[in-house]
């Protein structure tokens, strides 16, 4: 099967075969990252613009690292010092970036649907690095890649995603990928942040932490985005922690070989005990490292290469 997509906008759009292609390509790049010389010439002469209109540490650096490992030139767009502060529209900003001969745009934006919008008005590939509460496809891909490394096939595996689901693009991308991969996904957290409507995406919704964590193979914690919710969705961080924070007792309900994940940034002592975040079962920093390989795969495939090329070059 050949890779045909120019854009990576949402995991909802992808087939299982496409997700597996990205995973396979990511695995090949991960091998390259362990070599002495970590750079490949695939995207030499190409320019990738990181159009980040919302704050980001991990994702922006991982995309930059990935592009550089592929020998692309990277330009980071700094929203604070750009013309967007002078009222330039997203359309005009993006059209100008294209006119500056960029070969690819990686966009992070607080407004859901913005990457799709750019894909319609630009001729160059668009990679979604997170759009509002919609999707964060490369995060979903790196999370599922990390799960597969630890657990093998995800078919029949139980994944609990715990925390602020309503406002989470990470949750949505993971739900779409995991359902396609055959996993059972349970969303758990306060009813105001985990509305019943998520069952329409194929996940289960629960407000009972014990049953949700029981025998789970993976627990993924999401940051409580207190700045977005004011005080309407739950009374306080303290009450959240007492009801839904992951601590040692609650972690004991998991499958003994379960892994603990978090897309970051972590609020230590809020959604997760500090010890657990740093413990044996935590794969939080592996997720970050895998983020480079997965983003290399995304850039590489959307630039028009086929998965076989990199796989054969590493064997």
């Amino acid at each position: 099967m050949t890779w045909t997509r120019r854009h990576l906008l949402a995991l909802e759009d992808l087939t299982l075969a496409e997700i597996e292609q990205i995973h396979a390509t990511s695995a090949a790049f991960k091998k390259i990252l362990k070599r002495n010389v970590k750079k490949v010439p695939a995207l030499r002469g190409k320019t990738i613009v990181n159009l980040f209109l919302e704050p980001s540490t991990r994702t922006r650096m991982a995309f930059e690292m990935a592009a550089k490992r592929l020998s692309a030139d990277v330009i980071a767009f700094d929203a604070a010092s750009s013309s967007t502060t002078k009222g330039e529209t997203l359309r005009d900003t993006a059209k100008n970036i294209q006119a500056l001969n960029a070969d690819m745009i990686v966009i992070r934006h607080s407004a859901a649907g913005s990457p799709l919008y750019l894909s319609k008005i630009l001729d160059i590939p668009v990679i979604n690095a997170g759009d509002g509460a919609h999707e964060h496809p490369t995060q979903g891909l790196l999370d599922t890649f990390t799960m597969k490394e630890h657990l093998g096939s995800m078919k029949g595996r139980k994944v609990a995603i715990l925390g602020d689901i309503l406002f989470s693009r990470v949750a949505r991308s993971n739900i779409h990928a995991l359902i396609k991969m055959g996993a059972a996904v349970t969303l758990v957290g306060p009813s105001t942040l985990v509305p019943h409507g998520f069952t329409a995406l194929g996940a289960e919704v629960s407000h009972d932490l014990k049953s949700a964590l029981a025998d789970a193979d993976v627990v993924m914690l999401l940051r409580i985005q207190h700045e977005r919710q004011g005080h309407r969705h739950f009374p306080s961080l303290g009450e959240y922690t007492s009801m839904f924070g992951l601590n040692k007792t609650r972690a004991s309900w998991l499958n003994p070989r379960a892994i603990i994940m978090h897309p970051g940034p972590i609020n230590r002592g809020v959604e997760i005990d500090s010890d657990l975040a740093d413990g044996d079962r935590s794969v939080i920093l592996e997720q970050v490292t895998n983020g480079i390989a997965v983003r290399m795969a995304a850039l590489y495939l959307c630039a028009g290469y086929q998965p076989e090329h990199v796989i054969s070059s590493t064997e």
């Binding site: 509002g132 509460a133 919609h134 329409a200 995406l201």
Partner: protein, 428 residues
């Protein structure tokens, strides 16, 4: 002015319960029962074969953006869009810049209407100063200046006390109050219907309950004061039911529905197309069906378009940031014919009643009938002609329509105001 003789059309006039093929006459801008032989010789003749002659359509909810937002629409362009859509009387909303909360702005609008309008354009005034929901606008002066109703459309009066006093005060002048029903504390940042689709798209949801609460509030206030309150663009199934029960109890409330809410659901938003973004938002299929049922049994009184022009550059941006509103005037008739008559088996006369006599009655307008002695405001349309709507080639100054590029069935052929043809205009 020459007399008018429309021959052998299917004349549908719900107000006089007429639905028969025949000839329609007008003399001096007034519907006449017949013309003399001499008058017939000199009359402007229109061959009505295959066409429906209906009363000129009445829309009690349009935004013509003048004064202050004439980059989106003007009274000149808006009234041309109305004429092209078969509308001869339209009621424009007061959320202009500045808002129409004073007699001077109403006078400005009426001057522009006299100068530029092709159809009858009637202004409304604000309920509160600046539509801020804090202090009553000078409702008596607005009435004297010529408004036909008051409304803070787009901004719902949140204070129950202020709303109560507003309806009591306006009723003294016989002015109906029209309300955009939205509890704003529940819709902060909302850009679409709250439901499965908003969860999927990651967009902030606007729950039905925010409408239902204010519809209930208005029913209670109308019951308490006896005043007439008209609910604008009802979009929620429960709101329809609340209004149904209120009417059964004899409470004086009326309500409208838009063509887009009877034709579309939030499923249309799957590609974040801002030409499907409006307030209230497109709802679920159950809501859409409930609105149609409400129109069928009379719970909802009329169709109103909420024609809301915005420029391409305002709409062509991130979904969260694009303004609410879609065009409606040029597509309303074919959409209503399709949804109500073809798909939901309304009689043609019933569907036209919802666009003529009924809306005129809500605001006590002398419009919406072909009875002898009435103004010769006529909409002549081919109910079967299929055509492709190109919003960019339309008469509105803007093109933000959900129907752009769609093939519609039913096309306005001629629109007549006071016996004069206003659509199509002869090439000058």
């Amino acid at each position: 002015m020459p007399s008018l003789w429309i021959s052998r059309a299917r004349i549908v006039d719900p107000a006089s319960k007429r639905d028969s093929v025949g000839d329609l006459f007008a003399r001096d801008g007034i519907i006449a029962t017949s013309l003399s032989a001499a008058e017939r010789r000199r009359a402007r003749k229109i061959d009505g074969r295959g066409l429906v002659a209906a009363p000129g359509l009445v829309d009690i909810h349009v935004h013509f953006r003048e004064p202050g937002q004439s980059h989106k629409e003007t009274i000149a362009t808006g009234s041309r869009a109305a004429a092209a859509g078969g509308f001869t009387t339209v009621v424009c909303m007061p959320n202009t810049a500045p808002p129409a909360d004073n007699a001077g702005t109403i006078q400005y609008i009426l001057d522009a209407v006299r100068r530029d309008a092709l159809v009858k354009v009637l202004p409304t005034g604000c309920i509160t100063m600046g539509m801020k929901g804090e202090a009553l606008a000078p409702i008596g002066s607005l009435k004297r200046a010529g408004v036909v109703a008051i409304t803070d459309d787009g901004d719902c009066v949140q204070s129950n006390e202020l709303m109560r006093r507003a309806i009591e005060y306006a009723t003294m002048f016989g002015l109906p109050i029209m309300d955009h029903c939205q509890d704003q504390s529940m819709t902060d940042g909302a850009v679409m219907n709250e439901g499965d689709m908003s969860i999927r798209l990651g967009l902030r949801g606007w729950p039905n309950a925010a409408e239902d609460l204010i519809v209930s509030r208005n029913v209670i206030l109308s019951s308490y004061t006896g005043a007439h309150i008209h609910m604008q663009h009802v979009s929620s199934a429960l709101s329809v039911e609340i209004i149904r029960r209120a009417k059964a109890d004899g409470i004086h409330v009326t309500a409208e529905a838009t063509p887009h809410h009877i034709a579309l659901t939030d499923a249309a938003l799957s590609n974040y197309d801002t030409n499907f973004k409006m307030n209230p938002p497109l709802r679920a299929e159950a809501d859409r069906r409930a609105i149609i049922a409400g129109l069928k049994d009379g719970t909802l009184d009329c169709i109103a378009t909420d024609h809301a022009p915005h420029t391409d550059y305002e709409k062509d941006r991130e979904f969260d940031y694009a303004p609410n509103g879609v065009l409606g005037l040029e597509t309303a008739l074919p959409v209503v014919l399709d949804v109500l008559v073809r798909r939901n088996r309304f009689r043609l006369a019933h569907a036209l009643d919802l666009m003529t006599r009924k809306p005129a009655g809500i605001l006590n307008l002398s419009a919406g009938t072909l009875a002898a002695g009435s103004a010769a405001d006529i909409c002549l349309f081919d109910p079967d002609e299929a055509w492709t709507y190109d919003a960019k080639a339309g008469y509105s100054k803007s093109s933000n329509s959900p129907w752009h590029g769609r093939t519609l069935q039913g096309r306005v052929k001629t629109t007549i105001v006071d016996g004069r043809i206003v659509f199509p205009l002869a090439a000058s």
